[in-house]
C-alpha cells in the first residue's frame, strides 16, 4: 500500500515559501539551489533520520549533518528555525546588518556544523568526523549533502578515496543532482555522468533516486544506519533546480538570485 507522505509534502511547501519570503525580503539568496534539496532535508530532519536536539545543538550524540553546498543555506536556516534551534524571526533578518546570517552557511549559527560556501570541503570534514566516530565506536552518523556541480572539485574525490579506504560506512553522502551549474547544464560544461560508476569505482555503494519523491527518499534512507556492508553509501538524488516555482525550474539564469516585484508575487502565489 502506498504510504501517505502528505505531512512531509506540506512541510516542504511551507519551507519553500519561507525560503522564498526570506530571500525576496533580503533581495538575495540562492533560492533555486535551496529548492532542489527541500525534500531531502525534510526527510532527514522531519522523517526521523537525523538525531538532533534543538535545545542542545552541540549534543554529543547528535548525527552530524553537513550541508557542503553552502549556497543552499536558506533552506537549512529555515528548517533549523522551524525546529526551534533559534527563533524564526532570525529569518526575517537574512543578510541584514543586525541579522544572524547571510547567503552562505556559517558555523556560529546554532545547528550548523561547519562554515561552507566554498565547495569541496564538506565531505572531507565529514570524513574526519566519521573516522573518529568509527574509532570510538560512537553510534552517531555523518550525513553530507553535496551539490552535483561540487563534484568538479578535486578535493571531493580525495575525500571519497579516504572514506572508502577507511570503510566509513557511518557516513552517507547525498548528491543533489539538479543538473545545473551557474552558467550551464553540467553535461554541457564537463560531463559528470555516469556518476554512480565513478563513485562505485572509488569503493562506494550507490543508489539513484528521485530527490523530490518522498517514497524513494525514505526507501533509500531506510536502514541506512544498520547497513551490513563496509562500503560507504552515496545517494544520487535527481532533482530540479528551482523545484516548486514553475518559471524558475530548471532555468540557468535563476542561479543565486531571488525573484523581485511581480515575479516574486507570482512565485509566492505558486507556493500557497
Amino acid at each position: 500500500m502506498k504510504k501517505n507522505y502528505k505531512k512531509y509534502e506540506e512541510k516542504a511547501r511551507y519551507l519553500r515559501r519561507k525560503v522564498l519570503e526570506m530571500c525576496v525580503k533580503a533581495g538575495t539568496g540562492h533560492v533555486t539551489s535551496s529548492f532542489s534539496c527541500v525534500e531531502i532535508l525534510v526527510a532527514l530532519y522531519y522523517g526521523g533520520i537525523l538525531k538532533y536536539n534543538p535545545k542542545n545543538p552541540k549534543w554529543e550524540k547528535r548525527d552530524r549533518f553537513i550541508l557542503s553546498k553552502g549556497q543552499a543555506s536558506p533552506i537549512l536556516y529555515v528548517i533549523l528555525a522551524d525546529l526551534g534551534f533559534f527563533p524564526i524571526s532570525a529569518c526575517d533578518k537574512f543578510c541584514c546588518a543586525d541579522g544572524m546570517f547571510g547567503v552562505h552557511l556559517q558555523n556560529d549559527v546554532p545547528g550548523v556544523e561547519i562554515t561552507t560556501g566554498s565547495l569541496g570541503h564538506g565531505l572531507g570534514i565529514g570524513a574526519g568526523m566519521a573516522y573518529i566516530a568509527k574509532e570510538e565506536k560512537k553510534d552517531w552518523f555523518v550525513f553530507v549533502l553535496l551539490g552535483d556541480g561540487e563534484l568538479y572539485e578535486g578535493s571531493v574525490w580525495e575525500s571519497a578515496l579516504f572514506v572508502s579506504h577507511h570503510k566509513l560506512n557511518n557516513l552517507v553522502a547525498i548528491v543533489d543532482r539538479n543538473w545545473l551549474c551557474v552558467t550551464d547544464f553540467t553535461e554541457n560544461i564537463v560531463k559528470l555522468e555516469p556518476i554512480e560508476e565513478k563513485w562505485e569505482s572509488y569503493g562506494w555503494e550507490t543508489k539513484r533516486i528521485d530527490g523530490h519523491n518522498f517514497e524513494e527518499i525514505f526507501d533509500a534512507l531506510k536502514g541506512v544506519k544498520e547497513r551490513q556492508t563496509e562500503k560507504p553509501l552515496v545517494i544520487v538524488a535527481n532533482t530540479i533546480k528551482g523545484k516548486g516555482v514553475s518559471f524558475m525550474e530548471n532555468k540557468i539564469l535563476w542561479h543565486g538570485i531571488a525573484p523581485k516585484g511581480k515575479e516574486a508575487e507570482k512565485a509566492i502565489k505558486e507556493l500557497k
Binding site: 558555523n107 556544523e113 561547519i114 562554515t115 560556501g117 566554498s118 569541496g120 570541503h121 565531505l123 572531507g124 570534514i125 565529514g126 570524513a127 574526519g128 568526523m129 566519521a130 573516522y131 573518529i132 566516530a133 574509532e135 578535486g154 578535493s155 580525495e158 575525500s159 578515496l161 579516504f162
Partner: protein
Amino acid sequence: MKNEFKNKTMRDSFFDRLYELAKEDKNLYLISADMGAPSLDKFRKDLKKQFINVGIAEENMVLVATGLSLCGKKAYIYAIMPFVTSRCYEMLKVDLSLMNIPVTAIGVGAGFGYDDSGPTHHCTEDITIMRVLPNFHIFSPSDSFMAYKFAEITYKLKSPSYIRLDRKILPQLYNEKNDFSDGLSILKEGKDFYIIGTGNMTHRAIEVSEELEKYRINAGVIDLYRIKPINEKLLTKTVKNAKGIITIEEHLLAGGMGSAVIEVLVDNGINLPVKRFGVKDKYLYAYGGRENIQKICGLDKNSVVKGILEWSKKI
C-alpha cells in the same frame, strides 16, 4: 647542558616531543600526506591509532584534520612546506582560519632547504601567505631545541598554527632556560643597528653582526621566531633607539618577514631606515647547494655585509 639537539634535525626534535605528548594524550593525532621522518617511525609504530596517512592529498588532509578537531581532537598535519601551505591554502583559510580550528600545520623545508629539488620544493612565499590568515600563529624556529619546544607550545594553542621547520641541522642557540613566550629573542644588543633574522637566517644575522664589528659597526641581533603575532611591544622597545634596521630572510621580499617588521614600525610611529635582504621577485632553477642559491640571491654573508655597508653610508 645536554647536547641532544646538536645533531638532530628540527623535524626529529619536533616529532620526538610530539611523540611524548601523544603518548600521554590519546586525543593527539598526526596526519601525514605521505611524508616520513626517522622520528615518525616510532610514532607510526607505537601510536598506530593516532597516526593517519592520507596519501598525497593535502587538501583532504586539512579537511580530515578539521573533522577530527571538531570532534575534540588535537590534530597536526604534516608535509613539505609548499604542499602544506599554498597547495591547500583555501582549506587553511576556510576551515582553519575562518572557523578558528586549532590544527597545527607542520611544514618542513623552509626557504631553500630542499635546495637540490628546485623551485617546486623551495618555499619562499609561505610567510607572506600564511601571515594574512586571521587566527593563525606562525612559528619559525632557528634551532632544534626551539622546534622541540614548539611542539609543546602548539599543543596548548586554542587557535590554528603553522610551524616552518628547516630541513637542515642548524647550530644550537637555545636551551632549557628559554621558554619562547616572548615571540622574539634579543641575541645581541646593538648600538648602531639591529639585524632581524628568522629561521636559518638568524644564524646569518649573527655572522653578519660579527663581521660588521670589523668595520666598527655595532649591530644587535634579533631572532624573530614567532612571526605572527609579532611581539610589537618588545620589538619596538628594543629597536627604537637604533639608527636603522636590517632584516634577513630566505624568503621572497614581498610580504615576508621584513615587510611584517616594517608594518610594526610604521604602525607604532617608529621612523627608522630599514634595509631588507631576501629573494627578489623570482623563482630559481638554481643548484649547487643551498649556499650557492643564497649567493645568487645576495643572501650569503659577504653580500649582506656589503649591502649593509653601502646602505649605511646613505642613511
